[in-house]
Symmetry: C2
Subunit: 425 residues, 2 copies
């Protein structure tokens, strides 16, 4: 399949944030040309007039739990512990693997509407989420969720081997749920796997004040310092949330080249706090953005996360100049790809994988045309996503989905599962 | 014109937040029936199958400066004073009245995409904004902007008389820019007009820490206490922003029945702070929501403001249960109408004005269907707005605008004006 996008404004995000006029060609799974209008020797299967709209690399949702759609807006406005213990955990216990497959598809549809071309997903059954993703043509990097009540280090290793050989759209990273849900022994076993495979490791880290305080009580150290001491980060990796970080935590992240994946929507809704993004940036720590799961956000929208990343930093620092919007766009697009081990998806240049989006500039929220990259962060919305292409295939265009199944069937199944679980069956 | 909406989920917002199945009829400017499916004696001009989507009253944008679209994403990520003095004021000085007319139309288009059916607008030339609104078929309540460098109390009185007799879509309220931009004498003149017309008065109030500190230095009182002492609020009114309020300010607002119009997007982006919404609600102060202008937000999206209203309160109070999402929906829909003196637009019941919207539930961010009203606040997006009707006329439907002018012409004009002003012509 050869696709030509012409009449484009191009934001390649390779180096500068300059917007160029021209064309983008896609050949199979890859971008084959980005530049000025020119003639092609070979015909295209499809020529798309982009009508002066913006073509750019897709957003990377660097932390989520896709299958949690069944809990979206089921139990909001509750204190965190009550929400988790009385609402989330008892209902999750009723999920089957097949449920997780169908529920993940609802999230994938939403990612497409928000210009998200891949997700970094942690959940109970990675195989089912991977299958949903492949069946939709979507790209997913799964991450282990080792914890004392669920996935074991042995199961993690099996996932790592199987899912990294499963499909070109799928990768799997070593990971565990969090320091607070694992015994020291389990964490040592995960660190041993990191050493064995020379692989990066990811986990929830310092999301709440209480989590950090309890770790200090247990081990006399913050989660980051404790995990680093176990040798967890010898080959890189990162942390989800990283809200309650002190200077030493940031120094460890910087020294080890770890990624902070910030989740401002979830951290606000669950009253967890505001991550010290400004300081992290000053130290050169790479930051990626994630929506977290649909039970805690509740929407899966990178436009919301981009605005919140800079807006909450401005509030935290009491400085309207904190965290330039262009840096936020780079987090959502490029750093996300790097955090997920997908350097071939980080920008729109020849040879990269064709994970790209078209942003409708013919909408009032994009007008007049002043600073387009900053306007994406401050004013962009799902409504502006005209097309989402993953791995060279168009999965979403002008409000229609091309994911191998009718969205109405996906919604119907998700509603059935949700009712069944809520009714305790 | 008689319109019948059938196959609806109805959120009337009259009392409860229950969602009913049924039909909504519109006869001319008013809602003529809301209830179960039934036969009509008279034929309809149009029968619209709502396909199980949600019909509800429109959102009210209770504080904005529509014509500032030319400054959207022109100068972001700057400290507040530098932004105002070096970017906003010098460029505003070049605006003509006709510019303001055309620029306001860009904002009106955006309001329609976000399900906003009226706005509470303060700007340099209320006549031009009113004309843009009427020409589009949109509803606008204008508010005076008396200050030492612009509108005089005499001009305010003329506006009040002329614009309240101008058109059924237009109202005008007494108002001034802020305590910090007016001499005591000017404020006393505004208070005298409030007394003369027994009318409510609105203004910016306690947006920044510095504004409050300077007022205390000048008069030994907070802006609210000082203005109240001048007799400004004898017939009600309200304040925009109200971020830095103390207990006495809130007691005055409560005693006088004043509305707080909160602008969380702008207050975050400009690092002004988080308003104490939780405490205001406990005291029974009615709260409405506004986007503020497109230079300070930068988008004009009530979904963003709704999410931020509860999310920032949760962060401020460190309590995930703070400010229930249903209360936020009531602010955006009902309290906004009351703050603007439009009780006939507050809910979807027989006899009210037909200012209503259809929300697309057949989108992944609305699925599965758990708690629909809360999901609007936590997960809703412009992408969900299928139809916006103002005063019985459909102005936006399935992505198309019906405002008497081609949106592309409106964008082209706005870009011309913006370039001219930036080039200093």
């Amino acid at each position: 399949m050869r696709t030509r996008f012409y009449n484009c404004r191009i934001l390649s995000m390779q180096e500068s944030m300059d917007v160029q006029q021209g064309e983008v060609w896609v050949d199979g799974r890859h971008i084959s040309y980005v530049g000025a209008k020119k003639a092609s020797d070979l015909p295209f299967d499809r020529d798309i007039d982009v009508q002066g709209n913006l073509i750019m690399p897709g957003f990377k949702n660097a932390h989520t739990h896709s299958s949690m759609t069944f809990l979206r807006s089921y139990a909001d406005d509750l204190p965190l512990q009550e929400w988790l213990n009385d609402k989330v955990f008892p209902l999750e216990a009723k999920l089957t693997g097949e449920d997780m497959y169908h529920l993940a598809k609802v999230a994938i549809l939403e990612y497409l509407t928000s210009g998200i071309t891949c997700n970094f997903d942690m959940y109970l059954d990675s195989y089912q989420v991977a299958k949903a993703s492949v069946d939709c043509g979507f790209r997913t990097v799964l991450v282990g969720a080792v914890n004392d009540f669920g996935q074991s280090p042995e199961e993690l290793e099996t996932c790592f081997q199987k899912l990294n050989a499963y499909h070109p759209l799928i990768r799997f990273c070593l990971g565990f749920h969090g320091e607070y849900t694992n015994s020291r022994q389990r964490l040592e076993q995960v660190a041993a796997l990191a050493e064995k495979y020379k692989a990066p490791v990811y986990s929830h880290n310092s999301e709440t004040k209480a989590e950090v305080a309890q770790c200090i009580e247990r081990y006399g150290k913050t989660p980051t310092a404790f995990l680093d001491e176990l040798g967890m980060f010898r080959y890189g990796g990162g942390g989800y949330h990283c809200v309650h970080f002190n200077q030493e935590d940031m120094e460890i992240f910087h020294k080890r080249g770890l990624y902070v994946v910030t989740n401002p929507g979830s951290n606000a809704k669950l009253a967890s706090g505001i991550a010290p993004i400004t300081r992290m940036m000053e130290m050169g720590i790479p930051i990626a953005l994630g929506t977290d799961g649909p039970a805690s956000n509740n929407c899966l929208d990178m436009f919301r996360e981009m605005f919140l990343t800079t807006a909450l930093a401005k509030l935290r620092e009491e400085d309207a100049a904190a965290v330039d919007a262009q840096e936020v766009l780079r987090m959502a697009v490029c750093h996300g790809a790097h955090a997920m081990g997908l350097p071939e998806c980080d920008c729109l240049t020849t040879g990269k994988l064709a994970d790209l989006i078209i942003v409708d500039l013919h909408q009032p929220n994009m007008q007049p045309l002043n600073h387009i990259p900053k306007n994406l962060v401050y004013s962009g919305s799902k409504q502006n996503i005209k097309l989402t292409m993953v791995d060279g295939e168009i999965l979403y265009e002008d409000g229609k989905f091309f994911v191998g199944e009718d969205p109405e069937a996906i919604y119907a199944r998700a509603n059935e599962i949700t009712r069944r679980i809520q009714e305790g069956r």
